[in-house]
């Protein structure tokens, strides 16, 4: 494989493009609404009516507005059809030849679409994720070529630092600095690991990226491997994502056959292979040291850091661990330049962030917006608010490690620092909207039950602390708690956060602390009167 071969594949793909392309969403959300039958039906009609020369029916990745699936897009007409059934197929085809189809039309000019800025999702919903040619035709693997031919590993690390990219898995550590540490550590063997163990309930960004554009992740990993001096990569995917696993397997096989993975890539001395490791349903494995234990075939329990994986990771070798979305940003940063990337976003949070919008919101689905976009724009304008015009009460970000942001703070710009100030975290990007019917102590109990079940049991503060906190929350929700119980709960929150071994325990109290901060009244209302007959004290920060 040399650059001319890449050009030839891209050229062949572009020149075989047909006049009309009908895109069918084949991501997990739409597939569960039978989009595969819709695609089969469209293909059959195109074949039967002799339109195969003019119309291509293409299976694509996530088209974002999941709640209206199955989604079908028609190019170049710019039409989006929603809730398409196999019976709608004839009308969709007839409409491509002029005329109107009596099928529910989406509105491509809605803010849900127009306010998005796509970097990570640029190819999502457009290319066929199961064909490498489709990715190559949109400049795929060109960044890898540029890196191998024109840049030293140090140049690549510098580029990553200059771009200001921060880890998209939650903690927000500078990607470039992490790369620099691994690159600096001398070792004969190094590894690159992609964390695709997207365990936060309510988060489906990484699943969508893997299902929609798996090659962008592989290309990002290969570039990272060159930068840090690794030749072996692992993608750790959760077993709950069978379609993402299948698409990754196809992508790895095709990249290997095309010579874009393996030895001597682009006839350079650089070699890189990627293996998939499938998780087995343990939330704690999203924590990097637990994830590595799991890749090594052991129980996924975390260990103390330091040493950090960058110095001693998989089998004791220096290991770079980044999240799916982080890797997917890399090829674009190389192609368009670090300065371009750094021009998007806010002072300390560069680029875009993909969010999964879910819960009590009209438009559920996937969005990608520049860092710094106000929450209100995301939830009200793009998301269309809560169904039935009900008032939004809070937005939950960061999963079980995050917090609930009250409606009064919706003008907060979404970036790492602002969310942390509100007692929540950016997290991986799940955003769950809650309306007035959601009671905050119950949500806190829900998350604590999650953390209690998922605690690996290695350290005592997390193992027993989560059980005790859950018990207290349950007591509060059942209206059996006293003010002393609430005080004990707050004390426990502090202790568990300070003394737990890994992020799971350290962040487990966050949902309680953030709901207490903004919705303390809801807790107080559930408390029994104090023994001396005084009413429960009023909350400080209640909304």
């Amino acid at each position: 494989m040399i650059i001319d071969d890449l050009d030839a594949i891209a050229e062949a793909e572009r020149s075989s493009a047909k006049k009309t392309v009908i895109r069918c969403c084949m991501a997990a959300g739409c597939m569960s609404s039978h989009s595969e039958a819709v695609k089969t039906s469209l293909e059959k009609i195109v074949r039967d009516s002799g339109l195969s020369e003019r119309i291509e029916v293409r299976g694509v990745g996530c088209m974002r507005l999941c709640c209206q699936g199955p989604l079908v897009g028609v190019d170049p007409d710019g039409i989006i059809y929603e809730k398409v059934t196999p019976e709608d197929a004839p009308a969709v085809i007839i409409a491509t030849q002029g005329g109107e189809a009596n099928v529910k039309r989406g509105d491509p000019t809605h803010p849900f679409y127009t306010k998005q800025l796509s970097i990570v999702l640029a190819n999502s919903g457009l290319i066929d994720p199961e064909r490498i040619e489709s990715y190559i035709a949109v400049d795929g693997y060109r960044a890898l070529h540029a890196v191998l031919r024109e840049m030293t590993p140090n140049d690549v690390v510098e580029s990553a630092i200059k771009s200001g990219l921060r880890g998209r898995g939650g903690a927000g550590y500078s990607t470039g600095l992490k790369w620099a540490t691994v690159a600096k550590t001398p070792a004969a063997q190094k590894y690159v690991v992609c964390n695709a163990d997207e365990g936060d309930p309510g988060a489906f960004m990484d699943r969508s990226v893997l299902e929609s554009d798996p090659h962008s992740v592989l290309e990002g990993m290969a570039i990272a491997a060159y930068a840090v001096g690794a030749n072996q990569g692992y993608i750790y995917v959760r077993a709950e994502y069978p379609l993402a696993i299948k698409r990754l397997q196809i992508a790895i096989k095709q990249a290997r056959q095309t010579g874009l993975l393996g030895s001597g890539i682009f006839e350079s001395p650089f070699s890189f292979t990627v293996d998939i490791r499938i998780g087995a349903g343990a939330y704690v494995c999203g924590e990097e040291t637990a994830l590595m234990a799991s890749i090594e075939g052991r129980r996924g329990t975390p260990r103390p850091r330091p040493p950090f994986p960058a110095e001693s990771g998989l089998w004791g070798c220096p290991t770079l661990i980044n999240n799916v979305e982080t890797f997917a940003n890399i090829p674009v940063i190389i192609r368009k330049g670090a300065e371009w990337f750094a021009s998007i976003g806010t002072g300390l949070s560069k680029g875009t962030k993909v969010f999964a919008l879910a819960g009590k919101i009209e438009n559920t689905g996937l969005i990608e917006v520049p860092m710094g976009t106000p929450l209100r724009q995301i939830v009200e304008e793009m998301g269309g608010g809560a169904p039935g015009g009900v008032k939004i009460k809070a937005v939950q970000t960061g999963g079980p490690s995050g917090g609930c942001i009250p409606a009064s703070e919706l003008d907060t710009p979404v970036d790492y620092e602002s969310l942390t100030r509100l007692g929540s975290i950016m997290g991986s990007g799940g955003m769950i909207v809650m309306d007035e019917s959601t009671r905050m102590p119950e949500i806190a109990r829900f998350f604590m039950e999650f953390c209690m079940d998922e605690s690996c049991g290695k350290c005592i503060p997390c193992r027993t602390g989560t059980v005790q906190m859950h018990r207290l929350l349950d007591k509060i929700v059942r209206r059996e708690a006293t003010p002393e119980d609430l005080a004990k709960l707050e004390e426990l929150c502090d202790m568990v956060a300070r003394t737990s071994l890994c992020g799971l325990g350290q962040n487990a109290p966050n949902p309680i602390l953030s709901t207490l901060r903004f919705f303390r009244n809801e807790y107080l209302e559930l408390l029994q009167a104090q023994p001396d007959g005084k009413p429960a004290p009023a909350g400080a920060n209640a909304t």
Binding site: G29, C66, E240, A280, G430, I432, M434
Partner: protein, 161 residues
């Protein structure tokens, strides 16, 4: 060594272990395949895996019990998995689950006495855009209500009359 039972599935599993060249770090991959073949991981099967990978039985058992995905008891012929992730929860998954529990008379994680039906929960299927979701016999189904779920599982439940 062949497995004494002569069950062909052990041979398939052994071939899979050979694919990994017997590497011990492939334990989780091997357990995945074993569960695919046998439906669940019984003690005998875990011992077979331990022997083939030259690992202590305690290590294999430790891994099999650590991860939620591995099941050590047989499942019912039909399964209903209610997603209880946050998005499904705020959209009423708890009510769907209680309705199915009430109808079937079993709790989440249990199987009916006739081994026909297992009720399970999942942490998050990542299909939050179409919440609440329920997986019936492996098929993810969007926008579920308590009534829809009860109607769906009713045919798998024992009927006295």
């Amino acid at each position: 060594m062949k497995h004494a039972s002569g069950d062909k599935r052990f041979k398939i599993l052994e071939a899979h272990i050979k694919k990994f060249q017997g590497r011990q770090d492939a334990l989780i991959e091997v357990l995945h395949r074993a569960q695919e073949l046998f439906g669940f991981l019984e003690d005998d099967l875990l011992l077979f895996v331990a022997y083939k990978l030259k690992l202590p039985a305690s290590r294999v058992y430790g891994v099999a019990t650590f991860y939620h995905y591995f099941i050590l008891k047989p499942q019912g012929a039909h399964t209903c998995v209610v997603c209880t992730g946050t998005a499904c929860y705020v959209r009423g998954a708890d009510k769907v689950l209680s309705a199915v529990e009430a109808k079937s008379g079993i709790k989440a994680g249990e199987t009916t006495a006739d081994n026909e039906f297992s009720l399970l929960t999942a942490r998050c299927l990542g299909a939050c855009g179409i919440a609440p979701t329920v997986v019936y016999d492996g098929v993810i189904t969007p926008h579920q209500t308590p009534d829809a779920a009860v109607a769906r599982v009713n045919e798998w439940l024992p009927h006295d009359h």
